[in-house]
């Protein structure tokens, strides 16, 4: 039975639909895997055993009664603790929301429930999604299942680790500057950041409103596509939600890359990558060519300004989004003689150092006298980057490059230097700035046995071609997502 935890979502869905296994058995298998491993991995802030089993039982009952159920019914999932779950603590891994129980569900959560996906629990993250290692969580550390002494990446480290550890076949994360793709690369799993506006942000606790997107983690491209299909689509509660119908991301997955023009981003392939990353990326590009794709050299001349622009825009929006955490209506309150004092003490006690740093940067960048040189200028750079992408896509169908400059680093390696931590995002932020879809696909291991991710990017609403390219490469690579190595988590017992 525990072997069920080794299966993909598609496989589980087929077993469930065929009546070969019950939703309860599937859920129990995964809860068991969590119990056996999470003390070392630390992916989950909260495991929702009772709720998950209750939902599973309900699914089994309805299936037995002949009710037609959706394609993912009974498949378990780990949910980043940044999405509001009604009546269940939603903390953003922050002390300031440690006891916050939202009186409502995020739209994504509602859609998952309606699809009868079984939520196993809420996963760890960098506080308020600010970070690239999940070390900024106020509550616990999450370890990379490939090497328990290394970070899983961030900010969606918990979700990524949960999938890599086979605790769940599916997980939901969020990506603002790379927070799905980078942990996916570090953990050897598939992570997708959809087109901005494709997945509803209602109920997603905001970090940077014009950049945040919810997206799937999985161990296979097909699973990621299935999950994306379940959550994508217009939401009238989110003004920035794309009105058109979501593209079919599952239908054309197996079409291959014959004739596909694959743009290789010159600026991303320049120095800065670790040799192990470089080697796997080059190999992946060769494979694409062999599979029938044409490689095209393209330039994103302004991509180099991406981090600078991102670290002005994101903190600025965040500084405003996080103002509401003032101890008045919900969350932590530290007493004070006056409301002003209460607010200031609450925020000082409730926010960790990285969050404070970003609030300060953002407040400064927006403040009188600095707005034009900082925030407005960063938004102009954003326009340049969008135009760069437009020009690149005139010559190719998808863009590729490394997801991250290095593989997973050790705990504490980068915590002393915030700027060094920020530079992890150099390849990922341009897509967030452009609002375009991007994903990470595991393409091998470096010389240390750590996973390397290839980033595949596509034009706005180009998820189908992006996933199709990933699927073709994945099939050719046959990468084994089971963590292995001297310090890796043990595998699922058959």
């Amino acid at each position: 039975m525990s072997e069920l935890a080794g299966r993909s979502a598609a496989e589980l869905a087929a077993l469930l639909a065929g009546g070969e296994v019950s939703a309860r058995e599937v859920t129990q298998a995964h809860l068991g895997r969590i119990r056996a491993t999470d003390e070392r991995v630390g992916a989950f802030l909260r495991v929702l055993d009772a709720d998950a089993l209750a939902h599973a039982d309900d699914i089994d009952r309805r299936r037995a009664a002949g009710e037609a159920l959706g394609p993912l019914a009974g498949v378990p999932l780990a949910l980043k603790d940044i999405l509001c779950t009604k009546g269940v603590e939603t903390t953003c891994a922050s002390k300031i929301l440690e006891t916050f129980r939202p009186p409502y569900d995020a739209t994504v959560v509602r859609r998952l429930r309606d699809a009868d996906v079984v939520v196993l629990g809420k996963t760890n993250m960098d506080e308020f999604a600010m970070g690239s290692s999940t070390e900024n969580s106020a509550f616990q550390r999450t370890a990379n299942p490939w090497d328990l002494g290394r970070v899983p990446g961030g900010s969606s480290g918990g979700s990524s680790a949960a999938v890599a550890a086979f605790q769940a076949p599916l997980a939901i994360g969020t990506d603002t500057g790379g927070s799905i793709r980078q942990p996916a690369a570090f953990c050897g799993v598939v992570g997708v950041k959809p087109t901005y506006g494709l997945v509803s942000r209602y109920g997603l606790i905001a970090f940077a409103s014009s950049l945040d997107q919810v997206g799937p983690f999985a161990r296979t491209v097909t699973d990621a596509a299935l999950l994306l299909g379940a959550i994508a689509g217009h939401d009238p509660l989110d003004s920035t939600s794309i009105p058109e119908a979501a593209p079919d991301v599952v239908g054309g997955l197996e079409r291959g890359v014959e004739g596909l023009r694959v743009g290789v981003v010159r600026e991303f392939m320049a120095e800065g990558m670790d040799p192990g990353v470089r080697a796997r990326v080059d190999e992946a590009l060769s494979r694409l060519e062999k599979l029938g794709a044409t490689l095209v050299d393209v330039s994103l001349p302004n991509a180099g300004y991406g981090i600078a622009a991102y670290y002005l825009i994101a903190p600025s929006e965040a500084s405003s989004n996080l103002s509401r955490y003032d101890g008045v209506r919900y969350g932590l309150r530290v007493p004070g003689e006056t409301t002003e004092e209460m607010m200031a003490r609450t925020r000082d006690a409730g926010f960790g150092p990285e969050v404070k740093r970003r609030i300060m940067i953002g407040t400064y960048a927006l403040s009188a006298g600095y707005y034009d040189a900082y925030y407005a200028q960063a938004q102009r750079v954003r326009t340049l980057i969008i135009r760069d992408f437009d020009q690149a896509y005139a010559q190719c169908d998808v863009l590729v490059g490394p997801t991250t400059p290095s593989t997973a680093f050790g705990f504490g390696d980068k915590t002393d230097d915030p700027l060094a931590m920020y530079l992890n995002d150099v390849y990922t932020v341009p897509s967030n700035l452009a609002g375009a879809p991007a994903m990470s696909l595991p393409v091998g291991l470096d010389e240390q046995g750590l996973p390397v991710g290839l980033q595949i990017m596509a034009p706005i609403l180009g998820e189908a071609v992006m996933l199709r390219a990933a699927r073709a490469l994945e099939a050719d690579l046959a990468f084994d997502p089971a963590p292995r190595g001297t310090n890796a988590l043990e595998g699922v017992q058959a």
């Binding site: 916050f100 409502y104 600078a308 006056t338 200031a344 404070k356 400064y364």
Partner: protein
């Protein structure tokens, strides 16, 4: 951009963060470094380029003026750190508007 301690304190006040002296000093150097890096944006050839607020160009996203059920007052208050008579209770407010 090198920030002074006063700059940091001023920004902290705007952001309602009660920083300790150590925090102020630490932030002063970190923020200076980060902002110095971020200033690179001024080197970009932006010329007449307009700023982008939204990557996906939508306009006129409206909602019809039709009421939907509100939260019950119990639900609304359920998250309050302190409540009294169905209202959110806060300490005395000094900076009047």
């Amino acid at each position: 951009m090198a920030l002074s301690t006063d700059d940091v304190r001023h920004v902290a006040k705007l952001a309602r963060l009660a920083l300790s002296d150590d925090e102020v000093e630490g932030l002063r150097s970190q923020l200076s470094d980060i902002l110095a890096y971020a200033e690179q944006v001024s080197a970009a050839a932006t010329g007449d380029v307009p700023p982008t607020s939204h990557a996906y160009p939508l306009a006129n996203v409206f909602r019809e003026d039709v009421p939907r059920p509100s939260l019950s007052p119990q639900e609304a208050i359920s998250t309050a750190p302190e409540a009294e008579d169905g209202r959110f209770r806060v300490p005395k407010i000094v900076g009047a508007e």
